[in-house]
């Protein structure tokens, strides 16, 4: 379980997240949604202990994560950032790095490590690409390889920042099924999502952020009945629910944007 207690933070002099408190329960999927620049990724980095807090604390199972040694934290909590430039190594090597927190010196892999690496590649659907170099893969395949690395890390809490980036719709659904699988084996998942249909359909809880604050944090059906989501995104929308699946449809804006004053 992760608890945020009045956390505040940002970059340099710029504060991005203001006084956020929330509890992410064990074995649940929580999606962070909101407009660009509202602080979702910053909040996730603060949860991962990658960004210092200006005030407040992040508790992992009751312990302040700033007091947990980094190597110990890496065995409990994994983080997948937004698409990063990755050095040109093979998929198998990348996934193997997921076992880094468990390796002593010299850095050799045990049979258990190798099994976890292989299983992670199979789960993420990159086992057939294991000897391919990352630069030879599409963006979606690279993303799946990074997800496999995180799966190999085998942590109780999984933090994902826009994991659907670069994935086509089939692989998006496969990844969401994988996230559901993580939940069934008891993992806590917190993910930044832009696809509201998938976020509402697959999440146990949705946290809506606006201007650095969580303005609503509830179950998906409660979120769609409130106005926090549309307020945060600055749009109007319809939604419907069929066969346990949410359909969130933004309404075309009536007021026309004027481009008359802009010359190219």
């Amino acid at each position: 379980m992760i608890e945020l207690k009045h956390i505040r933070g940002g970059y340099g002099k710029h504060t991005v997240v203001f006084d956020v408190s929330a509890t992410f329960s064990s074995g649940e999927i929580t999606s962070l949604v909101g407009a660009n620049g509202c602080g979702k990724s910053t909040l996730l980095m603060m949860c991962a202990g990658l960004l210092s807090l200006r005030s407040g604390e992040v508790l992992l199972n009751g312990k302040d994560i700033s007091k947990i040694p980094r190597n110990s934290l890496a065995k409990q909590l994994s983080y997948l950032g937004q698409s990063q430039s990755t050095s040109n190594i093979t998929v198998e090597s990348l996934v193997s790095h997921g076992r880094f927190p468990y390796l002593g010196y010299p850095r050799t892999y045990s049979d258990q490590d190798r099994e976890k690496i292989h299983n992670a590649m199979v789960l993420a659907g990159v086992a057939d690409l294991s000897h391919k170099l990352l630069n030879e893969l599409s963006g979606g395949q690279q993303q799946r390889a990074r997800i496999a690395m995180m799966l190999a890390q085998d942590t109780e809490v999984v933090l994902l920042d826009e994991p659907l980036t670069f994935l086509d719709i089939r692989h998006q659904l496969e990844l969401m099924a994988l996230i559901l699988h993580l939940k069934t084996i008891g993992k806590t998942v917190i993910t930044v999502m832009h696809d509201l249909n998938l976020a509402l359909t697959y999440s146990d809880k949705v946290a809506v952020m606006e201007k650095g604050r969580i303005i609503a944090f509830d179950r998906p059906d409660a979120i769609v009945h409130g106005d926090a989501l549309t307020s945060s995104l600055g749009i109007r929308a319809f939604y419907s629910r069929e066969a346990n699946q949410y359909f969130f449809m933004p309404v075309k804006q009536n007021e026309q944007l004027s481009f008359d004053d802009i010359t190219f």
């Binding site: 980095m45 991962a48 202990g49 990658l50 980094r70 190597n71 110990s72 934290l73 890496a74 065995k75 909590l77 994994s78 983080y79 950032g81 990063q84 430039s85 990755t86 050095s87 040109n88 190594i89 093979t90 090597s93 990348l94 790095h97 997921g98 880094f100 927190p101 390796l103 010196y105 010299p106 850095r107 294991s130 000897h131 170099l133 630069n135 030879e136 890390q153």
Partner: protein, 342 residues
């Protein structure tokens, strides 16, 4: 596990030892050529018969007192600069970074020159002074990058600026102390002419320790290359490891500069050649290849430098550029099969 996968794994695992063996063979060949070639050509059979005969022949004296120290110096300096370059490129995440480009060599050179000017008798302290200078320069560039949140290109630009400044200070010191620094022009262009085995001490120890440390921590360097956030989320203490790798890089470059002068380009070009050979950027594989290729490359360059216009000798740094640059450009243009090792 199907047969295809097992075959693929064997192929993949066996390729690195084969490549290492080939590169080691290349290093041995370059050393052999270095021993035989010179103003006087000494064939391997001639040398062997001299070795078996009693007493020290003329040929043996040439090899023992002139060529072997030079070869040892070029193998050490080439390996050290290549590994230093690979470390700096990986830590700064910039393929353009190299000890000579971001001012590490210039920092080592400045402190060496200062040591010679102020303490002319303290020859044994030159490697330590060079290490301190290299570390000062690399931390200065890294500090600028960290403070400004600089992009990859800005790091190189900051390094070029620092390098120019340090070179200007070297020129100032050489102007103020012209007598004690009579050999400075050859130091600035790089070279190992007239080197003795004694003058390689204690630099060879620093290089040995540095290379061993780099090879031992190759796996950690791979994790660091994944990016700061990923490395931290995998449990790495990024600040400590960055400092450790930069210190190793500075120690290697400093030790090499202390006896071979400001040889440029090896630290830039050899890591790239090594990545092309390995066909990946995995440092656990790239670093040992760098050791072998760096040593072989600089030894061959030195052999060309002292034989091409014998008995006159070209400065080593110039030959490095003449051979290295066209080869490097050819490698870049070749670009077979995509972006291997970029």
């Amino acid at each position: 596990m199907n047969t295809l996968r097992i075959f693929s794994m064997i192929k993949n695992k066996s390729s690195l030892p084969v490549k290492l063996a080939i590169c080691f063979g290349g290093l041995l060949v370059s050393v052999l050529i270095g021993i035989c070639a010179g103003t006087v050509w000494i064939s391997p059979t001639e040398l062997l018969s001299d070795l078996l005969a009693e007493g020290l022949s003329q040929n043996e004296r040439i090899v023992l007192y002139i060529r072997l120290p030079r070869i040892l110096a070029t193998v050490l300096a080439g390996s050290a600069l290549a590994v230093s370059g690979a470390l700096i490129q990986a830590v700064l995440g910039n393929p353009l970074a190299a000890p000579n480009i971001i001012g590490v060599n210039a920092g080592a050179g400045l402190f060496t020159v200062l040591c010679i000017a102020v303490f002319p008798t303290a020859v044994k302290f030159l490697p330590a002074a060079a290490f301190a200078g290299a570390l000062f320069a690399v931390l200065l560039v890294y500090g600028i990058a960290k403070k400004t949140g600089a992009s990859r290109m800005t790091i190189v630009l900051a390094g070029v600026g620092v390098s120019s400044l340090l070179n200007a200070v070297i020129d100032t010191v050489t102007t103020l102390y012209p007598d004690s620094l009579s050999g400075i022009s050859s130091f600035k262009v790089g070279g190992v002419a007239g080197i003795t085995l004694d003058s390689l001490f204690p630099a060879w120890i620093l290089i040995g320790v540095g290379i061993l440390a780099a090879l031992c921590f190759g796996h950690d360097l791979d994790v660091l290359s994944l990016g700061e956030n990923t490395a931290r989320s995998l449990g790495m203490n990024v600040s400590v490891m960055r400092f450790l790798f930069l210190a190793i890089a500075a120690m290697l470059a400093g030790a090499a500069v202390s006896f071979s002068g400001l040889v440029g380009f090896v630290g830039l070009v050899v890591p790239h050649i090594s990545r092309k050979i390995v066909k990946s950027a995995e440092n656990t594989a790239v670093l040992p290849i760098c050791v072998l290729i760096g040593g072989a490359f600089l030894t061959l360059c030195d052999t060309v430098a002292r034989t091409l216009f014998a008995p006159f000798e070209l400065p080593l740094g110039i030959v490095v550029s003449y051979i290295g640059v066209p080869f490097f450009i050819w490698l870049l243009l070749r670009k077979r099969g995509g972006k291997h090792g970029d």
